[in-house]
Each structure stands twice: as structure tokens, then as C-alpha cells.
Amino acid sequence: MTSLRRRLLLGSATDITAILLVIVALFAILDFEAFFTSANLINILINASLLIVMAVGATFVLITGGVDLSVGSVLVFSGVIAGKVMIAMGPQGWAASIVGIVVSMLAGAAWGVVNGLVITKMRVPPLITTLGSFGAAMGLAQIITDGNDLKDVPNELIDTLGVGRFLGLPWLVWVALVVALIGGLFLALTRYGRRTYAIGSNAEAARRAGINVDRHLISVYAIAGLLSGLAGIMSYAQFGSTTLSGHGTDNLSVIAAVVIGGTSLFGGVGTMFGTLVGTMIPAVLANGLVIVGLNSFWRDFAVGVVLVAAVYLDQLRRRSRTKR
């Protein structure tokens, strides 16, 4: 692998990958038998899969210099809409399952388009726009369900996406990895990806270079919404419940993961591989700390430390670059 290709693939994620490996090694040393089993490692992946799917979308958003706080609420909203549609269809069977998946993704994408339109056409900053839709999507989900979690999921959906496995790996993990792979290739190799970086580096320059910045931003937020919708149906299938109260802090977890993975909050910089690593660190910590007998609250503390350290590394890199 040449150093150029290596930079392209890993980018700034080398340090953080090392941190992840050290954390894994540490837990493996402390309690090999419980931690380092395939069953447990797969559990960690399952628990990271929803966040990975949302983090892929958030990586695009953050690279444009924006932010999306609405992901967890859009996840719940999409699950609720899909759940209502599937219940109306009888709630069992393959047809209902597939329609549910499609409806969930469309519902998520719709929120994404709304976010994008408000940000580009109405000129409301992304932080405020998505904070608004964070509240609005959750509110609508509560109104539609009257605050009661929906619990009718087609058995076909539970047996496949929810708990089923393919070639030894759970479907949830396959979906997350495939989404990350496609997202990564899109970001690194296509014109769409290059435009995303360009807008994040300097939106005005991108506009003058003839890129339709507004249309591009709308599509980026639509992708983030679509992926939240996908995560919504994954969550519904996994938990068998719309988990209305379970995703309130997903947005912060997702942003932390993406930033730990080396994506800059100022836009223009980031890789999908870094995002993957950044999502795995909190997931490994959450699992490993319980296994070694520490309260899982230490995860919040540890993730906080890693987050600040990651941004500090990013700052150091920027400074050394400008010096050169």
C-alpha cells in the first residue's frame, strides 16, 4: 500500500485506531475468557450497528461543516410511522416487512429533506434547524402513538433483521457494515464525495466553482435522514418496540463517534473508516467495563476523555500543517 493510498483510506484515523486496539487488548488481558469470545465481540457489533448507520450519514453532514441533532428523534419517528403502516397491513408477513423497511427509510429521508430545505432556503443555521426537528420529530412520534410504544412487529422482520444471522454474523451487523462500506466508497471515490469535502472546506469557493451547493446540502441531509430511517426500522426489529424513550442522546453519541473518528467539526476533513473506529470505541468500552466489573457509567467518563483527546490531536495536526 503506498503512503498516498494509505492516507486516503485511513486519513487521520491512525492514532485513534491505535487507541481502539489498545483498549481491546486491555480488556482481553483483564478478562480474556469473557471478553474475547466471538459471541461477545458480535454483541459489541450488534450494539454499535444502529449508531454506525446513523454515523455514516452524520459523517457526510459534518464534513460539509454542518451538524444533525435530529437523528435519534428521526429514528424513533420513522420506526413509529413504519410500525403504524405495518399494523394497518395486518401486522404479519413479508409484504408488511418490506413495506415497513421502505416506509421507515422514506419517513427518515423526508425529515432530512425538510432539514436541508430549512437550512439552505430559509437560512436557519443547521444547529438550530436540527434542534428544532429533534423536538418536532419526537413530539410527532409521541402524538401519533399517544406515548405508548408500538410493539407489533412482523415475525418475519424479527427473525431476519431483528435477531437473524447470515454467514454467522447478525443481519444488523451486515447492514451496518454494508452501509459503512458504500458510504466510505462514495465519500472517497466519487464526485459526490469530492463535492462534499469541497463545500466543507469553503462553501463560497465551491459555489463559484459551479457546484450547486444548496442542492448538494439538501441531498446530504436527506441521506442522513434516510439512514436514520433505516436505523429506525433496525431498532424496531431488534427491540420489538419503538423505544420512544431510548434514543434521546443518540445525536450526541453519533457526533462524538464521528469526531473521535477524526472528522473535523469545521468541515472539510473526515473518513468513513475513522467514523467506524470512532463508533466502536464507546461500544467496546460499554461492554468491556461491565465485564471487568466496573460500573458502566465509567464509559461516559472514558468516552469524554477520548473525545477531547481526539479533538486535541486534530488541533495539533492543523497547527503543524499551517506551520509548514
Binding site: L30, N40, S245, S296, W298
Partner: protein, 330 residues
């Protein structure tokens, strides 16, 4: 520059090492003997809740008798999305038994099934599953009965006054608090002079509870009683009445958390219905040990409630059941 960079990385890793190192004292003393020294894992519904603190005390007391150890791991919110990852990590450690308060009657089924498939026994405490057949035993509180108790106490406190009564409830779909309201509404029918205004949901927010009560005080001049089904609601109701400088209204609350106890002492709340989490914990622990030692297991156990007022607050019968993280001396 490079040194700084590595120093930052090293600091992050080191702090983790320090964290994990102090938790690494996993005693593997539990042997294969079948009479004691079991590894019990307790997973409450949510952390930092004195109610579950008392459950843990009860489990610990029951575990002590057989020389078993209890490892408590609580999710940070009352939600399956937080609880299931913790459950799975606990399963990986292979304890002898898991005592859990499921945060969702359905979502926890599959992960718990995986636990039993590995030979780990499961006991449900406080909340339960739609299909609880996988559990050795389930210990719950009778919340309908507790709601009736609350109604009886409020009617007793109101005497022969006439007026309307409001219930401030948590959120729709929470079975325990829904049952409390159900029992309360039924109990309230005993006095025809009392008009039941029904329930309003606070969604577990102090502020919402407070604004519900202020609005009701303003719109119903004959409001004389409030039943609050959970601690946050009581705090909100007390705050609203304090602001309205209204002393016509009698509050009966639920749960004896430390703030709830203080509300009784200060006379802001006339009575608190107190469940018996300590008894729940003891019963769950005992049934877990019974299941492990092959003794007879009681599949279903319900624990009752007591009412705490200013008069009986210091009696040992009530003191024993006040929710607390510090366990009573056994």
C-alpha cells in the same frame, strides 16, 4: 509536535488503564459447590434511583445468607436500548443467576432467552415480561392495590369536604403507574362528593407536572386533592402549590425517595404511598438461591405497600421501607 501527539494519545489510554485496573479484581472464588458462593448479577431498571437502591439492599441481604456475591450494573436510562447492552455484557461474564427489572415487557425477551440458553438462571424483579416463562420466578408490587390504598388515604384526609381531585401521572403506557391510577380512580368512587378530574401526563418532567397543577388550580377553584403517581410529579405539584400559595389542596404522593420523605416532614405532602422494594429484593434473592440450590421456587410473588405520614414516619415499620441507597442494618 509528534511527542505532544503521542502524549495526548498516551494520556487517554493511560486514564483508561487506570479505570480498568481498579475494576480488575474479579474474584473467581465461586466454585462448583451447590450450596453457596454463587455469583449473582443484578440489573435494575435505571441507575441513581433510590427505589432500586433498596431492591439491591434486599438482594444483598438475601445473598449474604449463602455467601454469594452481588454485582450491580444499572443502565443510565429506563430503556431497553441502554439495558440490553449491559445485559449482554453481564451474560458474557457467565454469572450463576441474573436478577433483572426488565425495562420493556417484550424487548428484553430475546436477550434473556440467550442467557437461559447458556444455563444462566433468570429472576424478574419489580417489572416483568409479557411472556415470563423463561424466568425461575417473578417478584412484583401490586400497583392497583397501592393505588386503592392512596385513594383510601386521601378520602380519609379530606374527611367530609367536597371538591375535585386530579391525578398527575407519569407517561402513557407505563404499566406500573397506569395501574396506580386505575386503582386510585376505583378507590375514589367510594365518596360521591368527590369529583374525579382524571389524569394528566407529565412525561416525567418536574416542569410539566408543575404547569399542569398550576393550570388546574386556576381552572378548578374547587380542587382539593392531588394524587401524584411518581416522585418527579410530586415535586412539580408541590412547587406549583407553593407558588399559588394555595393550602386548600391535599397531596398524596407515591414513593419514599429521600426528597419524598422531606416533603412529608415539611408538611407539603400529606402522605406518601410506599412500596416495598426491599422486600422485593429479598424475595428475588431468596428465589434465585432456591433455584440454584434446587429447592422449591415460588414462581410468582407480590409485595404490598404501606402509607407514610408525618405521624408514623419514625416508626420502624415505615423506616424500614423508605427507599435508600444505604442498606438498613440487618
Amino acid at each position: 509536535m509528534r511527542t505532544y501527539k503521542w502524549m495526548a494519545a498516551a494520556t487517554a489510554v493511560l486514564s483508561l488503564t487506570a479505570l480498568t485496573a481498579c475494576g480488575g479484581n474479579d474474584d473467581t472464588a465461586a466454585g462448583g459447590d451447590k450450596t453457596g458462593g454463587f455469583k449473582i448479577a443484578l440489573i435494575p431498571g435505571v441507575a441513581n434511583d433510590a427505589y432500586y437502591g433498596s431492591v439491591a439492599c434486599g438482594v444483598q441481604a438475601a445473598a449474604k445468607a449463602s455467601g454469594s456475591t452481588v454485582d450491580v450494573q444499572a443502565p443510565k436510562s429506563f430503556s431497553p436500548t441502554d439495558q440490553i447492552p449491559i445485559l449482554q455484557a453481564v451474560v458474557a461474564k457467565k454469572p450463576d443467576v441474573i436478577i433483572i427489572a426488565p425495562t420493556d415487557s417484550k424487548a428484553l425477551y430475546a436477550p434473556l432467552k440467550q442467557a437461559t440458553a447458556q444455563g444462566i438462571k433468570v429472576v424478574l424483579v419489580d417489572t416483568t415480561l409479557e411472556d415470563s416463562s423463561l424466568a425461575e420466578a417473578e417478584v412484583t408490587s401490586d400497583n392497583i392495590e397501592a393505588g386503592k390504598t392512596a385513594a383510601a388515604k386521601l378520602l380519609e384526609l379530606l374527611g367530609d369536604k367536597a371538591g375535585s381531585v386530579l391525578t398527575v401521572n407519569l407517561s402513557a403506557g407505563v404499566t406500573t403507574t397506569d395501574d396506580r391510577f386505575k386503582g386510585f380512580a376505583e378507590g375514589l368512587k367510594a365518596n360521591s362528593k368527590i369529583k374525579d378530574l382524571g389524569q394528566q401526563y407529565s412525561n416525567n418532567s418536574v416542569q410539566t407536572a408543575s404547569s399542569i397543577v398550576s393550570a388546574t388550580v386556576a381552572s378548578n377553584p374547587d380542587l382539593i386533592g392531588i394524587f401524584s403517581t411518581a416522585a418527579f410529579n410530586t415535586e412539580g405539584a408541590v412547587a406549583a402549590l407553593r407558588q399559588a400559595k394555595d393550602d386548600r389542596v391535599t397531596i398524596v404522593g407515591f414513593d419514599a425517595n429521600p426528597p419524598g420523605v422531606k416533603q412529608i416532614q415539611d408538611g407539603e405532602v400529606a402522605a406518601q404511598v410506599v412500596l416495598k422494594p426491599y422486600d422485593e429484593g429479598v424475595a428475588a434473592g431468596e428465589q434465585a438461591i432456591n433455584a440454584l440450590t434446587g429447592k422449591e421456587v415460588t414462581k410468582k410473588i407480590t409485595t404490598g405497600a404501606v402509607v407514610a405520614t408525618k405521624d408514623n414516619l419514625d416508626s420502624p415499620e415505615v423506616q424500614k421501607y423508605l427507599y435508600s441507597f444505604t442498606c438498613p442494618a440487618a
